[in-house]
């Protein structure tokens, strides 16, 4: 078994290395091919158009026939798709389905940006990656899938995260950008660089059972031109407080929900390209911008709300704005600072916290009596796995202090039989929320009779590491 694991690991590493080499070769080839195309273009200008009977290859008529015969697409739409280049930032839950349909539709050049590697927890929604690709760079995994789907296209791998420093160099080569990322910092950065480089932007996001879709900077007119489409800052000028930002890892996400949003991004990309709207036409005015909201559990599930035009004082796209390519790439615009940083939670003092292994001893000695272990994860998580004897008081129910009784009184979830001096321990997934609740309870005066109130440091993560290796990590 061990031997098998080892050789699998070796193979995986070899595959990853080979993939990397392959994508490097592809990029080299792409550069050379591009030069050839440029040369050809130069030649044809002098010698008249290259005489070819049909503008597409025969295989392409077969491959794209079903979409070419859709009204409004036609041969012109297909040629526009072939000539277009699209940058997909993020090869995750949004980027995977978006890339699959964009490649399927025959967009000539597709770039993908992502610095992450494939993890098992990605596979339920990131449909270009497979179990065998765990540990591989997401971009390489995605391109290998896309190449097998449609080998006729040019794929460009950017195996790094988009940063203020590399944004210009990466984005300027493309006609259209899809924001498939997962953090406010990248949302503002991508919007800003698209405004600066005059690229339309299709932005989507998803969490739990909800999604949002917005087409931004379309038409992509220069900053200060009120006829251009609004940017992300026009819609959300103020980022949400850092502590309130929930990731898919913490909040959860349904595959088909984020998949729906990614597919809608691909659809909007195809619409924009085939309608010839990658660049602003002479005298073009922004059509009314809108945001599509998807709430899987609501009725109706889709709502479209009308957005404002460009904000007259927008930092990025108004004439008064202070955004320049220099300020962006020099790093003087600090996106992390703008969006706020979450500091590690340090609410409890060291003596108010115990190690997971210490709690195990307490459990043994006290045989589950004379103390209380309160798990403050949400009920859905508690139901997946919990420490024997613990009770569940979800963090969300304590936040509004509803689960906390008035000053001096005992909260209803403390069993009658619990001695007034019996210690109470709190636990959560990582040891942040447990500190908040322990502190709140102490403030309500529940430790007045000498009762110990504290939490388990690093939460259930530490429980797995120190006590129970069979603990299911989700």
């Amino acid at each position: 078994m061990d031997q098998a694991t080892k050789s699998a690991e070796t193979l995986r590493r070899q595959i990853a290395a080979t993939e990397e080499e392959l994508s490097r070769l592809r990029e080299q080839l792409a550069v050379i091919e591009n030069e050839e195309v440029q040369n050809l273009k130069g030649l044809s200008l002098e010698e008249g158009p290259v005489t070819r009977k049909w503008p597409l290859e025969l295989e392409e008529y077969k491959r794209y026939g079903r979409q070419m015969i859709v009204p409004n697409i036609g041969i012109q739409g297909q040629l526009r798709l072939k000539a277009a280049s699209v940058l997909i930032v993020g090869a995750g839950g949004l980027g995977c389905p978006a890339a699959a349909y964009i490649a399927g539709a025959g967009v000539g050049t597709i770039g993908i940006v992502d610095g992450d590697v494939v993890e098992t927890s990605n596979l339920h929604r990131q449909i270009l990656h497979s179990t065998a690709k765990v540990g591989m760079k997401k971009v390489d995994s995605a391109i290998s899938f896309l190449t097998s789907l449609n080998p006729n296209l040019r794929y460009i791998a950017h195996t790094e995260h988009l940063t203020p420093q590399n944004a210009r160099e990466i984005v300027e080569k493309y006609d259209l950008v899809l924001d498939c990322t997962d953090h406010p910092t990248s949302r503002y950065l991508i919007s800003d660089i698209c405004v600066l480089l005059h690229k339309p932007l299709i932005s989507a996001s998803a969490l739990r059972t909800d999604g949002q879709l917005i087409i931004l900077n379309s038409p992509p007119l220069p900053a200060g031109d009120a006829s251009g489409g609004p940017c992300y800052r026009c819609v959300f000028p103020k980022p949400p407080p850092a502590e309130s930002v929930v990731s898919c890892g913490d909040g959860g996400i349904l595959g088909p929900v984020v998949g729906t949003m990614g597919v809608l991004q691909a659809l909007e990309a195809v619409k924009l390209i085939t309608a010839g709207k990658l660049r602003a036409a002479e005298g073009e005015k922004a059509a009314e911008a809108s945001m599509l909201l998807f709430s899987a559990n609501s009725n109706p599930p889709f709502r479209s709300v009308r957005l404002r035009a460009r904000r007259p004082k927008c930092f990025a796209c108004s004439a008064e704005g202070g955004l320049t390519l220099e300020s962006l790439s020099s790093g003087s615009l600090d996106y992390v600072l703008f969006c706020g940083v979450t500091a590690p939670v340090k609410i409890l003092r060291p003596e108010e916290r115990i190690e997971a292994s210490e709690y195990e001893k307490i459990m043994e000695e006290r045989k589950g009596k004379e103390h209380l272990l309160v798990d403050v994860r949400e009920k859905v998580q508690f139901d997946i796995c919990s420490i024997k004897g613990s009770i569940n008081v979800p963090f969300s129910t304590v936040q509004g202090s509803r689960a906390l009784a008035p000053q001096g009184e005992k909260p209803p979830w403390i069993p009658e039989s619990l001695a007034p001096d019996a210690p109470i321990y709190f636990v959560c997934r990582l040891g942040n929320d447990s500190q908040v609740v322990a502190r709140k309870l102490k403030e309500s005066g529940l430790d007045k009779e000498g009762r110990y109130i504290g939490d388990i440091k690093d939460g259930l993560k530490a429980w797995k590491e120190q006590v129970d290796s069979s603990w299911p990590e989700y």
Partner: protein, 95 residues
Amino acid sequence: MSTSKAPPGHFKILYFGPAENHTRKGSENLPAPLPIGKLFSTLEEKYGGIKANLLESCLITVNLEYVDLPEDENEEGIMIQEGDEVAIIPPVSSG
């Protein structure tokens, strides 16, 4: 969230995504009319902390159309009428 209309003398308010987690409900009915400038303070009274933690970064719509909130807190701005549908739309960044 449902399509049911607000009862007489009320408007309906929808809480999307993270807003729903804050209020623990997808929607509710609030007394109308209410000047838009008083919306945040009305919600802050019901849900302590919601203004700074959520509302200030949200997109607000009335009847599916964005509205600007008055910059001056003492200004009332447009009036939310009986039967209107207000939506609180926080930025969602994950994906």
